[in-house]
């Protein structure tokens, strides 16, 4: 039996990396970690999945109360303000959950990182995938609201996954950058909490972009890649007559250039920086 044993050829060992080790193993791991984490959160707590629902719904009810009863921002500029608000909050919850969980992800997986060889990028990416599972579940509630408020299904709904894909890739890029930065600079976590809060207000979630009333402000708002994605969701899914498309709000295709630069720049930086740091992460922990 021993003589049958294959004699493997020597292969060069390159050390740890962000992606190395074969794509099949990469995706196996990514899927496994994401699913396990999802299960852990929702079967590990008493209320389970309800938590993932309660959080955005609670935020939604408070904001709805404030912005329809106190400030009245949305009323006349949006056809179905509650649906608009809920969709925005659910999508933003995905982004903030994915990125803020990613910040400490690599460090909190220290035990695994310091003892096992595997493509390091799996860890921050898995937080995005887990957050995506939550998002998909939450979208069911959004769908109920959409239908309840009388939004009719349309062919443009088919474009919704495109927006989700952009949102996912963006969140993944930011996650990679943040998780690697956190290994070196522990204050990344605090900074990101503040930045994420700022981003919430710099994205047309609580107010529609056309409520700003000024072209310059609208164009500035459209420099935020999230604004572009959220606005297109409003156009494609809620298909209001009054809603300007992202291109219109930005004042033409040229107006989308800053957002595109920021979007791809962030992803590029995230991937580049994580890849650069990956080999040394185990030492820096």
């Amino acid at each position: 039996m021993t003589t049958e044993r294959r004699t493997a050829e020597l292969r060069e060992v390159q050390g740890p990396s962000a992606l190395g080790g074969g794509s099949r193993r990469f995706f196996d791991l990514l899927w496994l970690i994401s699913v396990t984490e999802f299960k852990r959160v929702y079967f590990g707590t008493v209320l389970g999945y309800l938590w993932s629902l309660i959080r955005p719904l609670l935020l939604f009810s408070v904001l709805l109360l404030v912005f329809t009863q106190v400030f009245r921002v949305g009323g006349d500029k949006v056809e179905h303000y509650p649906v608009f608000l809920l969709m925005g909050i659910v999508l933003y919850t995905f982004f903030s959950e994915a990125t803020s969980n990613a910040v400490t992800s690599v460090v909190s997986q220290e035990g695994v990182v310091r003892k096992t060889q595997f493509p390091r990028a799996v860890i921050p990416l898995a937080t995005s995938v887990t957050a995506m599972f939550n998002l998909l579940l939450n979208l069911i509630i959004v769908l109920v609201f959409i239908l309840a408020f009388g939004v009719t299904p349309a062919w443009s709904w088919l474009l919704f996954p495109v927006a989700l894909a952009f949102l996912f890739v963006g969140a993944a890029g930011v996650s990679m950058a943040l998780s690697a930065l956190y290994v070196r600079f522990r204050d990344t976590a605090i900074i990101w909490v503040v930045l994420a809060q700022v981003l919430l207000y710099l994205t047309p979630i609580l107010y529609p972009v056309n409520a700003l009333g000024e072209e310059t402000k609208e164009r500035l708002l459209m420099c935020n890649p999230l604004s572009v994605i959220f606005e297109q969701v409003r156009v494609w899914v809620l298909h209001e007559a009054a809603a300007p498309t992202a291109v219109e709000a930005a004042g033409g295709w040229l107006g989308l250039v800053p957002a595109a630069v920021i979007f791809f720049g962030t992803i590029g930086f995230g991937a580049w920086y994580f890849n650069r740091e990956a080999p040394r992460i185990a030492e820096a922990l």
Partner: protein, 445 residues
């Protein structure tokens, strides 16, 4: 037991017949042409499983750790102060397929760094590492568990990390948990596990990964007796299956028992590669050379005589702090008389254990040749004694006394100390030759 050993031997022979790999590096092969030290070791023409060439790895240790952006912004240059720590400084070696290879060395000699480089957890500064086949690491008593997950989830996750498909892992997970004897705790979160349970699970995961090369760091130091026996059985079985195993340990008996060859690392360099017994001896020597407690001669002057020096020597006459078991204990003492002495002076020693138990006494008399011509004041004497060494490995102390009828009376406790080292473990303090003769009688039919 004998049957296992036999199969291990058989496997070694089989491996010797395997063709050598075409890309074999001559310079490395040269040092491998020596005969394997242990019977059953794969021969020199067995294909290599691990080849390491001129490996360097250093760590930069910041003298003042800067972990926040603010500190970096306030002191943009202060953050760049590092102390360079050379963990591995040009290490080269080759391990053959089917070999059980030990790596020994003192703490900080670079063993763990080397293992982490082999396991792709660290990246080398320069040099080459080549490995044949799949590798399963077992580092720092674990395989990397996520504290928040259950044992079962961790088993699956680790299996995939080690290169199995999720399907393969799910098929094996019950076997893994059974081997670790953790059936009742399979769905308990890892953070609630005791350290012994963790090690058992980790070891079990590593075994089931069915890798070609196993890297094992200090598994023998932990676990209860039954688990240690399980490890031992697993080692024998892996040996028999012709797996390549790299074992890092401080347990020299284990090195001798399992390893075909061993490597001694010291300060990031390869000190020795070859016979495990010799590597073990070198290791022990290295270990006890450092940290020799300086035992004083503070009270060594009294009543007309003074002890100047007392040291332990090796056979070449050099001062040592450790003696290999069975090698003679040589002691040298220097003595000065402070006044004229006519009567005999006795220089005596008591050999004692660390807790003060006297084991034996020996000594010598100094007598002036002529009673009428006493030793003048300022006479110096150097005495060298040789004592047959039947001591078990351990630390021993010498007490020294100088007495004479003329009133000299010095007694210095623990004037010198030494360590007897050897790879055999025995209880007690005396290790004489022991021989048994066994006669058996079949009961009459």
């Amino acid at each position: 037991m004998p049957s296992r050993l036999d199969s291990a031997l058989a496997c070694g022979v089989a491996h010797g017949d395997l063709p050598s790999s075409p890309g074999a590096n001559m310079s490395v092969d040269e040092e491998l042409t020596t005969q394997p030290a242990v019977p059953g070791a794969p021969g020199p023409d067995a294909p290599p499983a691990i080849r390491v060439e001129d490996l360097h790895k250093s760590f930069r240790i910041p003298t003042q750790r800067v972990d926040s952006l603010k500190e970096r912004a306030v002191h943009p240059f202060a953050a760049r102060e590092y102390r360079e720590l050379q963990a591995l400084d040009g290490v080269s070696f080759e391990i053959r397929q089917g070999e059980f290879f030990g790596i020994v060395g003192r703490n900080g000699s670079g063993k763990s760094t080397l293992l982490k480089l082999l396991a792709s957890i660290y990246r080398a500064d320069s040099g080459r590492i080549q490995i044949a086949g799949r590798l399963a690491p077992f580092i720092e008593l674990g395989v990397g568990f996520n504290q928040e997950l259950t044992a079962r989830e961790n088993v699956v996750l680790n299996g995939v990390m080690m290169g199995l498909t999720p399907k393969e892992v799910r098929e094996r997970q019950d076997a893994v948990i059974d081997f670790a004897e953790l059936h009742d705790f399979a769905d308990l979160k890892i953070k609630n596990y005791s350290s012994g349970m963790l090690v058992r699970l980790a070891f079990s995961v590593m075994l089931q990964a069915d890798a070609d090369v196993l890297l094992i760091d200090e598994v023998l130091a932990v676990g209860d007796a039954s688990f240690q026996q399980k490890c031992a059985d697993a080692f024998h079985q892996m040996k028999a299956e012709g797996k390549t195993i790299v074992l890092v340990t401080h347990d020299m008996a284990a090195v001798e028992q399992y390893c075909h060859r061993a490597m001694l690392l010291a300060d990031g360099n390869v000190q020795f590669i070859g016979d495990p017994a010799e590597a073990g001896r070198d290791y022990l020597k290295l270990n006890f050379e450092a940290g020799l407690p300086q035992i004083g001669l503070t009270e060594a002057e009294a009543d007309g005589a003074r002890l100047l020096d007392c040291s332990i020597l090796d056979s070449a006459g050099a001062e040592v702090a450790n003696i290999e078991s069975r090698e003679d204990i040589r002691v040298r003492v220097e003595l000065e008389l402070l006044r004229e002495t006519a009567s005999a002076v006795h220089v005596g020693f008591v050999l004692a254990t660390a807790d003060g138990l006297g084991l034996l006494e020996f000594g010598e008399h100094l007598r002036p040749e002529d009673q009428q011509r006493p030793y003048p004041a300022g006479s110096r004497f150097t005495l060298q004694g040789r004592v047959e060494n039947r001591l078990a490995p351990g630390r021993y102390f010498l007490n020294c006394g100088v007495t004479s009828a003329a009133g000299i009376s010095i007694y210095v406790e623990q004037i010198s100390t030494f360590v007897v080292f050897g790879t055999t473990k025995t209880g007690g303090v005396i290790a004489p030759e022991v021989e048994f003769q066994v006669e058996s009688e079949e009961p009459a039919a």
